[in-house]
Symmetry: C2
Subunit: 338 residues, 2 copies
């Protein structure tokens, strides 16, 4: 026994009357040891309640069966869902997920990357593709397998699993336009350090441009992804001299806020103003009326990401990116303009 009085490989070996190497092999290469010995060792392990010491293992084998993920924030249902799946999926392969948050700050992200690498993660999952060149440099220098999620872009040379934010937003805008809307406003997310938010705005803007419409202030607002900021932004939009007939929101949370603003202004949705969201989180269905929004298959994204990062970590080789399709889910917050 050692200082922390947890049993060690050595204790097991002694009790089973074999060498430490044999015990180690029982654990890692079980079919290299005779059945009878294995039984004896297993009994010893059970009797002592032995668990391998993580540090020793990491030190000797130089891998940790750990994958790190750095997300902007946990206080966001969007990431929570994908992450939950990712975690479940990884744990099926005996891999632990380490989660850190960057609060949308590239510098904090870089710091967290170092922290996670310091913990010996075998792979890294990051959100979006926009970050300082040095960060990518650092990652490639270090030869860390990493994967970008929530984004799908051909601009980036790095492996990613996600959807095309631009395309999805473009589709949604086209959808709104085809329903007859011409006065279209957008409440987008803060674009600083957030490529997803920027692409969603660009997608809407491009769709409008193609239809001879222009997305510009005061019809274009950037706010944080919170209910209250969404509400405040919508309040201003609805108080304009010519208010929009439709508001496209950067995500469902903002859309919920916009809905609230409409209610408070005594307006009916969708009769007086249409509001659409993005992400299709639970909230989208909870509010009244239900939000027409872009459905993102978070579970599938999590599952694929788990599969790929494991593959990358194992083979130390790049893998092909995966694009996940989104679709518009119709509820009742959008109506036709005649």
């Amino acid at each position: 026994m050692n200082t922390s009085n947890l049993p060690t490989l050595d204790d097991v070996a002694r009790l089973a009357g074999v060498s430490t190497a044999t015990v180690s092999r029982c654990l890692n290469l079980p079919d290299q040891v005779r059945h009878t010995t294995k039984t004896r060792v297993e009994a010893a392990i059970a009797e002592l309640g032995y668990t391998p010491h993580f540090g020793g293992l990491a030190l000797a084998s130089n891998r940790t069966n750990t994958v790190g993920a750095i997300i902007p924030t946990m206080e966001n249902a969007i990431f929570a869902r994908g992450l939950q799946v990712l975690q479940e999926e990884l744990s099926l392969s005996g891999i632990t997920l380490l989660v850190a948050t960057s609060l949308y700050d590239p510098e904090k992200e870089a710091k967290q990357i170092r922290a996670l690498l310091g913990r010996g993660v075998d792979g890294l999952i990051l959100i979006g593709h926009e970050r300082p060149q040095e960060t990518y440099q650092f990652l490639t220098d270090r030869r860390v397998p990493f994967l970008l999620m929530w984004t799908s872009t051909t601009d980036s040379p790095y492996c990613n699993v996600g959807f095309d934010n631009h395309q999805a937003a473009y589709d949604m805008a086209m959808h709104v336009i085809l329903r007859g809307h011409r006065q279209i406003a957008m409440i987008g997310g803060t674009t600083k350090g957030n490529d997803r938010a920027r692409e969603r705005i660009k997608g809407v803007s491009n769709a409008m441009k193609q239809n001879g419409l222009k997305l510009q202030a005061p019809y274009l607002v950037e706010t944080e992804y919170t209910i209250d900021e969404g509400r405040a932004a919508a309040q201003k939009l609805l108080a304009l001299h010519t208010p929009p007939t439709a508001i496209i929101c950067g995500n469902d949370v903002q859309a919920a806020g916009a809905l609230k603003a409409a209610h408070q202004a005594g307006l009916k949705v969708p009769d007086d103003v249409s509001i659409v969201g993005f992400d299709d989180i639970d909230l989208a269905e909870a509010v009244e009326p239900g939000l027409t929004t872009v459905h993102v298959p978070h579970r599938r994204m999590g599952r694929e990401a788990a599969r790929l990062i494991i593959q990358m970590a194992r083979n130390r080789a790049p893998v092909e990116s995966i694009r996940i399709d989104t679709n518009i889910v119709e509820r009742s917050s959008l109506r036709d303009i005649s």
Copy 2:
């Protein structure tokens, strides 16, 4: 350089022209080394981009600066908030939070506990106080510092940081009763393996009993904490021969579902039926009308938990529990019955 070509303490020492011990001291006991040496070492660290190897550190010092938390699920805004704070708070002390999920299954929780201990966590954070005796036995045998969150009970001999679910629910029920309601129904969470859900139901039940009312089927329903189950349950309640005038929900998510059901049934809230929630998550403010609910100071809970678990891990000694007060926040989903 070693196999993984990451710089080691040794590389730093060589470059700075000092011994590994000195480098180590620069990192851990900085005021035991001379200023000029420190500068040299720091330069070497920067030049190499050195990060301590976690395994080596864990092995040599027998601590990991890691705290593990096992929550039922990440897909729940309630835990996400507290966890986010916990994580931020811990990272201020250089501690990493490892999150695992149990999906409300005690066996899975036990498994996760072992997994986290295997990773050498210095402390453990668990949700609620109800779990098999063996689990507690295991934890105490192993002398792992651990902390229960989201609960505050004198029944449990273990350190906890949270609020009194029974009392909070009792207060809410009293509040509803004082507003004149007598036909009160409750949509509670699934009680299996969930002491918080059970206490909330008991709290409501007790308050009613004290006022000569009885909480029983069909006015008492247990469902999962999801919007849809909340909606379905409320739908049945509202279709009863004598529907309740008020529905107390086990959490805001269920309440949002109930709200939805009322809308669908063409009923106005709170005019035709009052609905109250629990937890005060963002959702409570997002829905229309805003939910009258029990406000739980999640941030404060996270902060206190971080403080305590650090203290426990450091001193290897129990600390006093902390009870956090809740309060009712009035929005507009509850009205007086004349």
